[in-house]
């Protein structure tokens, strides 16, 4: 082992430009591999707060049998409508509006979500500080709010905005909960701040309807749940003498919808895997050429070792192991740099868009990276370093020594 590390250190230190190029190439590669892995994980639909995505059915806008838009569930009838679904305990009401909120004497344009207490039971937001608001808060019209950590920083210059106040539409709200930031690829809504639905004035957008998210209980099979929901919606529109085009087969869970919304649907996941592989193979091939040159420079050393009894495998390990040390260092650096790089990209790409308050990737889940990046590192290392090492150990000893 000592011999291996002495030789590896000597060779790594001797060819500084080669080492730097390899490190740089691997770091860049693994920044993007880490981001791609994380993005794939987020888009899979099981990522917080969307952990129940495959059991949530959204009721938003409906069409009649002629294909014309007939709106959604009218806000005054929303609570009554939920009573048509007695088997479903958790039904959230949601409506959003773009508002100008005043915090610390500064105006902020923010997308605000007016939600009922069930919103917090259906979506698994991680509360960093405080708590959500409950049914009593809604009934008693308590002017309270929950916001993301990022918005708390924007509004109050601190992560923990508990007790801080802001106002909009003539009312002042107190922050009672701060949740972890969410990714724009794993969020039920675009909102990053939520207040009780009872304060919704439906201005400025004037859409007097709620989006209802129904969490289907585990005791009801999803197809049976879809049928029950379809019947309830049909009854609701029948009372209004409208024929709604809404049948169980058309109903999709949020997970199914997100898969459909992603370009290419399920193909996205195959596509992402292929893209990830390409991301791995192209730089690996570049580093492979670098390594081939480096390995050729060391062909004599390997030939001498073999002449004195080194077996092909131990010679292979010597070269490939050295490459593994460099690529592993590059890979770890890449993974650690992924989040800062993402933040720079986010600021430059979506900084001024409607998603400015959402993250592309809220954080790096190191379990995901470990499960994905580690095999990728082994493949990358074997491709870029193993192949030249193998070829070197296969060369004729006298030919190499004569060169």
């Amino acid at each position: 082992m000592k011999h291996f590390f002495i030789t590896a250190y000597y060779n790594i230190a001797k060819d500084k430009s080669y080492t730097c190029l390899c490190l740089f190439g691997t770091t860049i590669t693994f920044i993007f591999i880490a981001l791609a892995l994380q993005l794939m994980h987020i888009c899979s639909g099981d990522y917080p707060p969307m952990t129940n995505a495959n059991s949530i059915i959204r009721l938003d806008m409906f069409k009649n049998t002629d294909g014309k838009n007939i709106g959604g569930i009218y806000y005054k009838e929303a609570n009554a409508f939920t009573k048509n679904l007695p088997d479903f305990k958790h039904i959230s009401l949601y409506h959003s509006n773009a508002i100008n909120a005043l915090a610390k004497e500064q105006l902020h344009n923010t997308d605000i979500g007016f939600v009922n207490e069930e919103y917090w039971n259906i979506y698994n937001y991680k509360f960093l500080y405080g708590k959500p608001f409950f049914k009593e808060d809604c009934i008693n019209r308590k002017q309270v709010a929950v916001m993301t950590e990022k918005l708390s920083k924007t509004y109050f210059n601190k992560s923990n905005g508990l007790g801080e106040k802001f106002s909009f539409q003539g009312k002042e709200y107190e922050v009672i909960g701060v949740v972890k930031n969410v990714s724009m690829f794993s969020t039920p809504t675009e909102s990053v701040i939520w207040v009780p639905y009872v304060f919704d004035k439906f201005i400025p957008n004037g859409m007097y309807k709620y989006t209802l998210d129904v969490l289907t209980p585990p005791s009801i099979p999803i197809n049976a749940a879809k049928e029950k929901i379809a019947v309830a919606v049909q009854q609701y529109f029948n009372t209004k003498n409208m024929k709604v085009d809404f049948f169980p087969k058309q109903i999709k869970t949020l997970k199914e919808t997100s898969e459909n919304n992603i370009p290419g649907g399920k193909m996205f996941q195959y596509g992402s895997t292929a893209a990830l592989l390409m991301l791995l193979i192209i730089p690996a091939l570049n580093i492979l050429t670098l390594n081939s040159t480096n390995a050729n420079n060391r062909a004599k050393e390997i030939a001498v070792r073999r002449a004195f009894g080194a077996k092909p495998f131990s010679s292979f390990i010597l070269i490939a192991g050295e490459n593994f040390l460099i690529t592993a260092t590059g890979a770890i650096t890449g993974v650690l740099c992924a989040v800062p790089v993402m933040n720079v990209l986010r600021k430059n790409i979506v900084g001024n868009s409607a998603f400015m308050d959402l993250e592309i990737i809220d954080h790096i889940d190191y379990n995901v990276i470990l499960c994905g990046a580690l095999p990728a590192l082994i493949v990358f290392s074997l491709l870029s370093g193993g192949l030249p090492a193998y070829l070197i150990t296969k060369r004729n000893i006298p030919t190499v020594l004569k060169e």
Binding site: H3, T7, R305, A307, P312, N396, L401
Partner: protein, 220 residues
């Protein structure tokens, strides 16, 4: 000790065939100090490489201590090289990354059951034989050509091989250094190690017990 029977070696490059060795029959006896002479390109190094299991003949049989090595796997030949053979090259071929003592102990790294302590002790012993213990912490780049070749000899000896194969060991050295090296090899031979040496230099060859002359791949 080594018996070569009808050894042929043909090098093929595209459409050109070069017969480097033609029907070589040769026996190296235990304790012998043999030199192989001949002009450049006559096949003497090829013959040495085949004797040292570094290369395979196109046809023919090699018996090493009575064992036919023809069918041996690469794994087995590596083991045999490690235990039975020692090599000295014209260009020394020391590993620049390693200190002198680390270079010397190299063959023992690939031998099972040799502890770190034993490796070091034997490396110092081998360096004592070539009178270079004071240089053991140095690196090859800090040594003269003659010293490098003495280190290479120590490396070849550390595994206590039965046969030492030297390919022009004095080829890169001046006459004074060459003399030192040949005297060292004679001493090693006297202690019982069989030596086969390839050389251009008749003066060097005259110190050996048998001289084989090769021309165009054939023993004269």
């Amino acid at each position: 000790m080594i018996k070569l029977d009808k050894i042929n070696k043909v090098f093929r490059t595209n459409e050109i065939e070069t017969h480097a060795l033609n029907n070589i029959n040769l026996t190296v006896e235990k304790g012998e100090f043999m030199s192989i002479m001949g002009p450049s390109g006559c096949g003497k190094s090829t013959l040495l490489n085949i004797m040292g299991l570094l290369d395979k003949p196109t046809s023919g049989t090699i018996l090493l201590n009575g064992i036919n090595v023809e069918e041996m796997s690469e794994h087995k030949t590596a083991e045999l090289r490690n235990k039975t053979l020692g090599f000295i090259f014209q260009s020394f071929h020391l590993i620049p990354a390693l200190s002198i003592i680390d270079n010397v102990e190299l063959p023992l790294l690939y031998r099972k059951g040799v502890s770190y302590k034993e490796r070091k002790e034997r490396a110092v012993e081998a360096l004592q034989k070539v009178e270079l213990t004071h240089r053991m912490k140095h690196f090859p780049s800090q040594l003269s050509g003659g010293q490098c070749q003495r280190v290479a000899i120590a490396r070849a000896l550390i595994g206590q091989p039965e046969i030492l194969l030297a390919d022009e060991p004095t080829g890169n050295l001046d006459s004074k250094m060459s003399e030192e090296i040949i005297l060292l090899l004679c001493e090693i031979n006297r202690s019982g190690t069989t030596i086969v040496m390839v050389t251009h230099d008749i003066k060097m060859a005259s110190n050996t017990s048998r001289i084989i002359n090769i021309l165009d791949g054939k023993i004269l």
